[in-house]
């Protein structure tokens, strides 16, 4: 390498750990500027970590990193870099928003980089035209193919004309034609802007051939750097993949054997698997379109195609997992029936992602499958041992799969799939992400099964060199089979002589009429627009960026039916449940009388209860035992026992005794009921027999604010406090954490948006939503529960606005230190509900709480809103009566935002 070549990045002794695992170990590297530089290596070797650190989205643990002539630990330099670096994280469309359209996604990025509306319009049109996406500006990103998503990702990255473009595995899982188009697009851009540096990571060794410079990585170390030629020479092999294996440390390499494919003996003419016109629709979408093929016993049949081309769906139909919409699949001549357990005994299946029980050990997984497949009991143990031995799993027998590397997990999956000696093996992309050595080893097993045990193998892959090992392959795209044949024949049929080129040719033929590739090449890439960038990029607070987030969040929310339904219907359901479910009203109490006196006076006493709304009379009892029995069954709550001689004693002024049997299992109801009985009995008798009552003084009771003493007047306004903290806090917390889970948080980390803009932008739509909730609740309170606003309506409206600003702020705070939606949801719900239920005055008035309880209650906004909602609605109070509560609510809203801003990190650890 020349000493004078300018560097886009210089890395010195960089080490990065996740817990005990080192993703990067003492890496030093100079990456040349102004060219296409690549990082190659299998999954999990530290490529993504390195790129994230270079992009400034991950924090540097130790070591020194200079990017674009500045130190990446320097915050000022980093924030300047946000407008100069574009970062596209790994995963198809990972940083895009699936429910938003192509144009809306681009528009969002344009706003984040401060482009004016006119500039945005112009850039978007140019970029869409250049990438061939122009015909679909309104299509939702979730409905795009993998290749189109990646092109859109590239457009979003290019909208601000970066000086350094960082792409993390941009072509993984994309069909060969789209892959080729993608690289042509990059070449094109570089031709227009030669000063731009491009840094790419890839697991496809073949792709690395086109890079100007590359670094081969393994296990956190750099194996070799230089031009592809230099690396090949260093490894002493013709292809990069072979050279890569040669460069690995000795101990890893010695297990490797080159794969040779022994010829297959064709036998018989019955087909093992046969598909005839298989079609599968999901609604309007045709996932698999009229697919037919025939696989002979013992054959290895490959399915080659991109993500989402219908490979998995076809395989699922062949296992009986998914019924076909049309067509038949036959297994050994018999039509496949999903209900037929006997077919399942003959098929082994390995799904795309790891799908064994990670809670069970390697051995337990094997045993479970042996049992379920009903191997004879005494054969289970030997068979499990045999599997452990032949798949080299003995050392990890008692480990859990999660602790094992991907290569070994895939071996275990294969062992499980063949434990019941199936005749047919269906494998869905078994080697994705596995390193080259483990991949070759995996193929040794497959060849052994096919050639020695005569197992028919149906395998899907997107590695061309694996497809070349199959006896026959089928090229698949957009649900259709483009060609079937022996790999060598297919390769020779095309001009280029390789399988990849043959595939591209078929794809081009198939895609020509659909306009999908129109304009990809030849249309000029837009010239960089130096005026458009950096206007808002440098500003420390920009309303435009804030609004970009608010707008996008609102659009996403409106397009998510489950979240929206929960947000709008949740409060309604809760208020109905609480309004009717929590009541301290004791009414229609079932009671029965055991009247031993049967006199005029005893009947007069009973009459007193009959007229009351509190009681509901049941048939009289004939004995005390009967009363108790009926109390036990819950049929009655009160038993009244009138002794014989009651009438005589009453008239005689002897104050006769009446026995009340009260079911006090529920003590509140029991005590209240007893209170009502004695009140009514004494009053009724005193009216009927005025001479008997002492009537010397009276204690008048007054129920203030709520004369009828109906629960709804107190409970409904109190429940506002609870609902308006729980739902808005949950919704907001989930809204932020979703971005972490789905990966679009990368946009916050890699663009100029500040923490405050991000937080306020995200909170905005939820404040509006929560206020809609409040207005709905208020309408329900007034019109369904008949609870009027006796005091000041403006005070209630203002107080509620301040309250939801606080509770959504609380949700933002929760989200800044939780990482999964489930944790955010339960965290927000539990932490906000406990003080709202127990310490805000909902059940126990604040004045009766113990000192600690009072302090807890007043440390949350709910403790201050409860007096406002109850005050304004039931107590008839006004703003001036409650101004301290309002001031406190403002304080809470600000404090939550402030703490959340500190807790949220712009860089990932």
């Amino acid at each position: 390498m020349q000493e004078v070549a300018p560097k886009v990045a210089q890395i010195r002794s960089l080490t990065h750990r996740y817990g005990d695992n080192a993703a990067l170990e003492d890496v030093s590297l100079d990456i040349p500027a102004g060219c296409m530089a690549g990082l190659i290596g299998p999954d999990g070797v530290g490529k993504s970590t390195l790129l994230a650190i270079l992009a400034g989205v991950r924090r540097i643990q130790s070591g020194q990193v200079n990017v674009l002539d500045g130190d990446m630990t320097d915050r000022v330099h980093r924030s300047r870099c946000h407008v100069r670096i574009a970062y596209m994280p790994q995963g198809l469309g990972k940083n895009l928003y699936p429910t938003l359209s192509v144009e809306e996604n681009l528009d969002f990025f344009g706003r984040l980089f401060g482009l004016t509306p006119a500039a945005r319009r112009e850039r978007i049109d140019e970029l869409l035209a250049a990438t061939g996406l122009a015909p679909f500006p309104h299509r939702a990103v979730g409905a795009l193919s993998g290749g189109m998503k990646q092109k859109l990702g590239l457009c979003c990255a290019l909208i601000h004309d970066p000086d350094l473009l960082i792409l993390d595995e941009p072509t993984t899982g994309v069909d060969p034609l789209s892959r080729r188009q993608f690289w042509e697009l990059i070449d094109h851009i570089r031709a227009r802007r030669p000063q731009m540096s491009v840094l790419v990571a890839t697991a496809y060794m073949e792709e690395a051939e086109r890079f100007d410079w590359l670094a081969a990585m393994d296990d956190g170390h750099i194996l070799a750097t230089g031009t592809p030629d230099e690396v090949r020479r260093a490894g002493g092999h013709e292809t990069l993949e072979e050279a890569f294996i040669e460069l690995l440390p000795e101990e890893r390499r010695k297990r490797h054997r080159a794969v040779t494919v022994p010829p297959r003996q064709a036998d018989g003419d019955t087909a093992a698997i046969e598909a005839e016109g298989l079609t599968r629709r999901f609604g309007d979408f045709v996932a698999v379109d009229n697919v037919s093929f025939r696989i002979e016993p013992g054959e290895i049949f490959g399915f080659l195609g991109s993500n989402g081309c219908g490979k998995t769906t076809t395989m699922k139909m062949l296992t009986g997992l998914l019924p076909a919409s049309e067509g038949v699949a036959r297994l050994f001549g018999k039509p496949l029936d999903a209900r037929d357990m006997a077919t399942r005994q003959r098929v082994g299946y390995m799904s795309q992602s790891f799908s064994l029980y990670s809670e069970l050990t390697v051995r337990q997984n094997l045993e479970l499958h042996a049992h379920i497949f009903e191997l004879p009991y005494d054969e289970i143990e030997p068979r499990v041992l045999e599997m452990l031995k032949s798949f080299e799993l003995e050392d990890v027998e008692h480990s859990r799969p999660d602790d094992l590397p991907l290569g070994i997990k895939q071996r275990l999956q294969l062992a499980v799939a063949v434990i019941h000696r199936p005749e047919v093996l269906i494998l869905d992309e078994p080697t994705s992400g596995v390193d080259p050595i483990a991949r070759d080893q995996f193929w040794q097993y497959l060849l052994d099964l096919s050639r020695n045990d005569g197992v028919t193998i149906f395998i899907s892959t997107h590695f061309m060199n694996e497809a070349e090992r199959c006896d026959r392959v089928s090229l698949m795209h957009a649900g259709r089979v483009l060609a079937v044949g022996v790999p060598r024949d297919l390769a020779e049929s095309s001009g280029g002589g390789s399988l990849e080129e043959a595939f591209v040719e078929y794809l081009e033929k198939a895609a020509a009429p659909s306009r999908m590739t129109d304009g990809v090449i030849g249309r000029a890439m837009p010239e960089p627009d130096q005026n458009g960038r950096g206007k808002a990029g440098r500003r420390s607070f920009s309303l435009q960026r804030l609004w970009a987030y608010t707008r996008r969040e609102a659009m996403e929310l409106l397009r998510d039916p489950i979240r929206l339904t929960f947000a709008l219907a949740g409060p309604v359901i809760l208020l109905l449940a609480f309004g009717y479910g929590i009541t301290f009203d004791v009414e229609d109490l079932p009671y029965a009388v055991f009247d031993q006196d049967q006199s005029l006076e005893s009947r007069t006493l009973i009459e007193g209860f009959e007229g009351s709304r509190y009681f509901d009379e049941k048939t009289p009892a004939r004995s005390e035992t009967e009363l108790i029995q009926r109390l036990k069954s819950g049929e009655i709550v009160i038993g009244v026992e009138i002794p014989s001689g009651f009438g005589r004693d009453l008239l005689g002024g002897h104050h006769p005794e009446i026995n009340l049997l009260v079911d006090a299992a529920s003590p509140f109801r029991g005590e209240t009921a007893a209170g009502y009985v004695s009140g009514i009995a004494q009053q009724y008798l005193a009216e009927r027999y005025p001479g008997l009552a002492a009537n010397i003084f009276s204690v008048e009771t007054r129920m203030r604010y709520n004369q009828a003493f109906k629960s709804v007047y107190a409970i409904v306004p109190s429940v506002f406090t609870l609902i308006l903290t729980m739902i808005p806090a949950m919704m907001t917390a989930v809204g932020v954490v979703r971005e972490k889970e789905y990966g679009s948080i990368a946009n916050f980390r890699s663009t100029p948006v500040t923490r405050l803009e991000f937080l306020l932008g995200k909170q905005g739509p939820y404040i509006v939503l929560a206020y809609i909730n409040f207005l709905t609740l208020l309408a329900m309170a007034v019109f369904i529960f008949g609870v009027p606003v006796k005091g000041s309506l403006p005070a209630l409206l203002l107080g509620s606005l301040l309250y939801v600003a606080g509770t959504t702020g609380f949700g933002v705070l929760i989200s800044s230190f939780t990482n999964t939606q489930v944790a955010a949801m339960f965290g927000a719900a539990i932490i906000s509900i406990i003080p709202a239920v127990n310490f805000s005055g909902l059940l126990v008035p604040v004045s009766s709480l113990s000192g600690a309880g009072q302090i807890i209650g007043l440390s949350f906004p709910s403790g201050w809103y409860q007096p406002i909602s109850v005050g304004a609605m039931t107590k008839g109070l006004h703003l001036s009566d409650m101004w301290t509560s309002f001031a406190m609510l403002v304080l809470f809203a600000l404090a939550y935002l402030f703490v959340a801003r500190i807790a949220l990190r712009k860089q990932e650890r």
Binding site: K316, L360, L368, D663, Q682, F709, L843, D881
Partner: protein, 374 residues
Amino acid sequence: MMHFVRNVWRLGVKELRSFLADPILLVLVIYIFTVAVYSVATGAKTEVVNAAVAVVDEDRSPLSRQIAAALLPPYFQQARYIDAEEAITGMDRNEFVFLIDIPPNFERDLLRGDKPSIQVSADATAMSLAGIGVNYVSSIISQEISVALREHGVSSDQPINLVSRYLFNPNADSLRYTSVMQVINNVSMLAIILAGAALIRERERGTVEHLLVMPVSAAEIMVAKIWANGLVILIGALISLSLVVQTILGIPIAGSLTLFAVGIAVYLTAATGLGIMLATFASTMPQFALLAIPVLIIFELLSGSATPMESMPVWLQDVMQLSPSTHFVAYAQAILYRGAGLSIVWPKLAMMGAISVAFFVIALARFRKALLNG
């Protein structure tokens, strides 16, 4: 048939292993059956405790002072004397819940036979406290006045003498009620969450696909989930009742725990079936949680465990008859509080059984459909 039983057994054992290997779920179940039961039972009391009282004493006689002094802890805080102007604003500001207004010359008028009256106001927005508390306050006042009158040889007795006998809970202790109901509510909550999470977990990890290529039927998978998760909850509930409720909180359980366990088993079929049914509508845990929360709240709050059924509107009572939780709460209350036997509770058990069968059939149909459509 043997085949069915064997597969259900093996898949169930697998479920149990998965459950035991998930520390978060394990801790959640233990927490819910111990700490959560204890803290809610001891925290949310409906008794009159520590109530704040204010007195406007315009009489300033020995009797008026005697009345104020008779309001004692733990029921009441020491009464605060305030003047008439503060009486209204103080209650507006939640400073006290009860206000006793003793008019000028009350004692003199009483002894003269002028039939004076004392006014007790309660803040009726504090429902639980105001309702019972106002009875306590007025009976304490009446008692103090009667004692004073008796000293002057005047009787103030009422026409009849009502003797209340509190059955099943002689001290009207709310701890007894809430602790047991908390266990019942947690059974419902865990049944829905555990069964639903067990399905979602398989779906999120892709293992459900694996189950389907094995020679097992949807019914076997579902029954295995029900028995395994049900067993965890049954054991948890029984331990919670005997350890936390009986031993730590010292609360007597009236009826037979075996009979109660039979009821839980029947009820769990319906509740876990509901959990599985909800899980078929969601593809991720967050979606499941959003669906489960409102269902759980209705399931628990309106079942009669929080508030007596007869206080709800009649239409709602009728609707809630379709919910297994309503019958389970009534069944559990009859056995655990009132010591009812099978001869009394069998109709409720039969209702639960019928609802369980219906829930199971619907859930199985949904489950099958959801599995086939991936």
